[in-house]
């Protein structure tokens, strides 16, 4: 009896298990709050709206259509996953890369310009995106390392600089009659990422391909770097105690810059994996930074700051974000989907709190059990 209790407790104490439970709780709570808000706005459509958000591509009755849109969600999720990896990698080194959004934008600008204006093949466009984003990340890193400029401030400013610079750059390659960049399929089809036959699995969704694989590989790679290598050991030590890292001879300044560069490169790679499929064209009159990078923050936390966890959390967040577009627009205004997914994403940040509460509860229970056992012994 006691033994059974112990194994159950040790599972409950397991960090990975706690993260999963906490993440699921956050999701449920987010859905509940979202539902309540929908009820307040318009009670009759609330249930339908929530189920549309959760159903996402299952909205389509035909299996073929559903699989096709699953593919599109996956393409977007892979970009989100990269942003999420970007955030969590920096976070492990004690840096809050809120600039993933801007790095993502710069990556998008670089790869689209290389593809449409310079007619370069996809691999070059991809590398250009990685390089450009790494430089943007590196700027924040260098400012932090040498002048102790808070990376949050410099990242936010660079987000806007990046957005408007990219808008200007891509105006040179936009279609004449619309504010969108020329579609890759007509402008330079050699810049489109190879599908590797994956499109066949998703009802010939031609956007699904290499990007999906790159993102999963990156998640595993980030995990390996952080957990298994000397480099990761140094980075984490620097993140946890910069002074101790300096004391034992780690080059903490170089590490900070390198981290932000890698972090930026991941976000840029995400942008390349997204825009080089041709799934979306860049709108050169955008006045807000695309939310992909910011959702990456939520996804990183929902995944318990674990690269493997980020794979699942990124998919989920993208799932509800995409699902939001199916909400009945006659009952709710167009922004409702964003609002609901924002609620859920916001609550995702509470994973750490839930873990704390769970541990406190377990501690209390253990104390009580200890007392009971003691009393039993006395009697």
């Amino acid at each position: 009896m006691n033994k059974k209790n112990n194994t159950r407790d040790s599972i409950l104490r397991n960090d990975g298990f706690q993260t999963i439970i906490a993440s699921l709780l956050c999701i449920l709570l987010g859905l509940l709050v979202g539902y309540i808000v929908l009820l307040i706005i318009n009670p009759s459509g609330a249930a339908g709206a929530i189920s549309s958000i959760l159903k996402n591509f299952l909205y389509y009755p035909s299996a073929a259509a559903a699989t096709k849109y699953l593919g599109t969600t996956l393409v977007k999720a892979s970009a989100l996953l990269m942003c999420s990896l970007s955030v969590l990698f920096a976070y492990k080194v004690g840096l809050f890369n809120i600039g993933a959004a801007g790095q993502y934008v710069v990556g998008a600008g670089a790869c689209l310009y290389c593809a449409i204006a310079l007619h370069l093949p996809w691999i070059v466009c991809l590398l250009a995106a990685v390089l450009a984003s790494a430089i943007v990340g590196g700027i924040s890193g260098a400012l932090k390392a040498y002048f102790n400029v808070n990376e949050v401030i410099s990242c936010i400013m660079l987000n806007w600089i990046g957005l408007y610079a990219v808008n200007m750059l891509l105006t040179t390659v936009k279609e004449e009659t619309t504010p969108y960049t020329k579609p890759l399929s007509s402008a330079n089809s050699s810049a489109i990422l190879p599908t590797l036959g994956l499109d066949k699995l998703f009802s010939n969704n031609k956007f699904v391909g290499l990007g999906l694989i790159i993102s999963i590989v990156m998640a595993v790679l980030v995990w390996i770097i952080l957990e298994k290598t000397k480099f990761g050991f140094e980075l984490k030590a620097t993140g946890m105690n910069k002074l101790a890292a300096k004391y034992c001879g780690m080059r903490e300044k170089t590490n900070i810059i390198l981290t932000m560069m890698i972090s930026g490169a991941l976000a840029g790679l995400g942008a390349a994996c997204f825009y080089l499929t041709g799934v979306e064209q860049w709108m050169v009159q955008q006045t807000s930074v695309p939310s992909m990078g910011f959702n990456g923050i939520a996804s990183a936390f929902l995944g318990g700051l674990n690269p493997i966890g980020a794979i699942f959390s990124s998919y989920f967040i993208q799932h509800i974000t995409s699902g939001g577009s199916y909400v009945d627009k006659t009952m709710y205004c167009a922004q409702i989907s964003d609002l609901i997914s924002a609620f859920i994403i916001y609550l995702c940040g509470f994973v750490l709190f839930f873990k704390l509460w769970l541990n406190r509860y377990l501690d209390k229970r253990e104390e009580k059990q200890g007392m009971k056992a003691q009393k039993g012994g006395e009697a």
Binding site: K228, T229, K230, F231, F233, K236, A237, M240, N241, L243, A244, A245, K246, Y247, C248, G249, M250, R251, D363, E366, E367, G370, M371, Q374
Partner: protein
């Protein structure tokens, strides 16, 4: 019955895997100074946390003036008149003394602070106990001793009856310690009850009326100070007899290992240099000790020596090789080990496991990292286990214990194991026994002497005169960033050293 101000009766507090307090009884009489003595990890901090309502004990009761009380949080403790001077002061640096004293109990009228009355009360208290504190001075501008008095005034201002002093003398100069002892006696004479947590037996003998001893979470006993001796107390604390005198063979210094010429380091706090033209050397097989009162440039000297801060001027050579501009990692590889002053700030990555901390200076070596940059986890585990056993580093879960959860003494042992096992040519040890108990101090002194006997050089920076006198082969006194005297410990008295440390005497350089 009611002659006890506070009684903690049969307190038991368990944590997963450990009983921190096992049936401990502590009775504090009114108007007495009661010392609480115990090694690190003996359970003193836990017991105080219980008294302050930070932890709830599984068993036991707390009585105040003979009546049972419930203390569920620090506010309850405050309401019962229990106050504490923490080892690390809880003061707002950029506030004045007065502001710090009234913080949390401000009198206001219509939302406006009323400081005049508070100022009068503080001045009256300060006069009554002979504190000489300027209520308008900013905390960052006054000495550590004055800061401590501010903490004491905080308790008095709140009319606390039970005053707890947690290791109050660790940061003070010998003169300040004497003044504190007088203050404590005055407070007790006024009817305040004082609980005095310390490792220093001499202070207990001087000031306390009674002493309770804890060992490994258990209550060992309470003795009247007039019926005991330091030897008896330390035997109670560690459970065996402790050798106070460090045994060592006569010194046989060899070639010069470390040579420092004219080192100057800028200060971060003021415009003058923190270290001003210091020259010294350390030879094979000797322990050179830099003595001095805290804040006289010792910290900056070590930063300059180990590469944590750049030098303004000067030259460092180790075995004839120029170290002046060398990166920290290279200094470490070439034989300089550094036991840092602040183990939490520099010495450990607290959220890393013990094993990761043990390889913190060596993880990059081929024995721990393969040529592709992957860590060899098994080798790291084996190495950590060997050091844990060899240096008797105790922890809850062995190599995977988080450094944060270990006791201070064992954290220090882990650092010492790491630094000594590197087999350095020169060991720079800065206050290696700070805040440790007698048993751990004895152990660390033995390790230092072993290094010396193995023909290595040891540079010890210490604020403890006992340590300076017992361990070193040569004493250098540092005052305001300069070396003001060099002594043979056999030929100098503590009083003489004190005069040099306080700057009232100096030898012509």
């Amino acid at each position: 019955m009611a002659d006890y101000a506070i009684e903690m009766l049969n307190i038991t507090k368990r944590f997963p895997g450990i009983i921190a307090n096992d049936n401990i009884t502590l009775q504090l009489k009114k108007g007495e100074i009661h010392a609480l003595l115990g090694e690190n990890g003996a359970g003193k901090s836990t017991l105080m946390s219980v008294l302050f309502g930070l932890y709830q004990p599984e068993e036991g009761e707390i009585h105040k003036d003979g009546r049972k009380v419930e203390i569920n949080n620090p506010n309850d403790a405050d309401a019962l008149g229990i106050g504490m001077v923490h080892q690390h002061f809880k003061l707002v640096e950029c506030f004045s003394v007065l502001d710090n004293i009234i913080l949390g109990v401000e009198t206001t009228k219509g939302g406006i602070l009323q400081k005049d009355e508070a100022r009068k009360k503080v001045l009256a208290l300060s006069e009554k106990y002979g504190f000489q504190v300027d209520p308008n001075a900013l905390i960052e501008d006054i000495t550590v001793g004055m800061q401590q008095r501010t903490e004491i005034l905080k308790m008095l201002y709140r009319d606390n009856e039970i005053l707890i002093f947690d290791e109050p003398t660790a940061v003070l100069t010998p003169q300040e310690i004497q003044e504190l002892m007088t203050i404590m006696k005055n407070l007790a004479a006024e009817g305040k009850s004082i609980l005095f947590i310390t490792h220093k037996l001499a202070e207990i003998m001087q000031v306390a009326d009674r002493c309770s001893v804890l060992r490994k979470g258990k209550y060992i006993g309470t003795v009247d100070i007039k019926d005991t001796t330091p030897e008896k107390l330390s035997a109670m604390m560690v459970g065996r007899d402790v050798n106070f005198v460090v045994e060592k063979k006569p010194v046989k210094p060899g070639k010069v290992i470390l040579d420092v010429q004219n080192m100057t380091v800028a200060s971060k706090r003021h415009k003058n240099n923190a270290v001003n033209g210091v020259s010294l050397n350390v030879r094979e097989g000797e322990i050179v000790c830099i003595a001095g009162i805290d804040g006289n440039g010792q910290t900056e000297f070590v930063y300059g020596l180990t590469g944590l801060e750049p030098l303004k001027e000067g030259k460092i050579t180790l075995h004839g090789e120029d170290f002046t501009q060398m990166p920290i990692r290279k200094r470490s590889i070439k034989g300089m080990s550094h036991i840092p002053e602040d183990r939490h700030k520099h010495g450990l990555v607290l959220d890393y496991s013990l094993e990761n901390n043990i390889v913190l200076q060596r993880y990059f070596e081929p024995q721990f990292t393969n040529k592709f940059g992957f860590l060899k986890k098994k080798e790291i585990r084996d190495y950590a286990n060997r050091l844990i056993e060899q240096y008797d580093v105790r922890s809850g879960q062995g190599p995977i214990t988080k450094a944060r959860s270990m006791s201070g003494g064992n954290q220090q042992k882990a650092i010492i194991a790491r630094e000594i096992d590197k087999n350095p040519e020169l060991l720079v040890a800065v206050q290696p026994t700070r805040g440790l108990d007698v048993g751990a101090i004895e152990y660390i002194h033995k390790q230092l002497v072993a290094q010396r006997d193995a023909g290595k050089g040891v540079l010890l920076v210490s604020l403890e005169l006992d340590e300076v006198m017992n361990v070193s082969d040569r004493i250098l006194v540092m005052y305001e960033g300069e070396i003001v005297g060099e002594f043979d410990p056999k030929e100098v008295t503590v009083e003489e050293l004190g005069l040099y440390m306080a700057g009232s005497k100096r030898k012509g350089a």
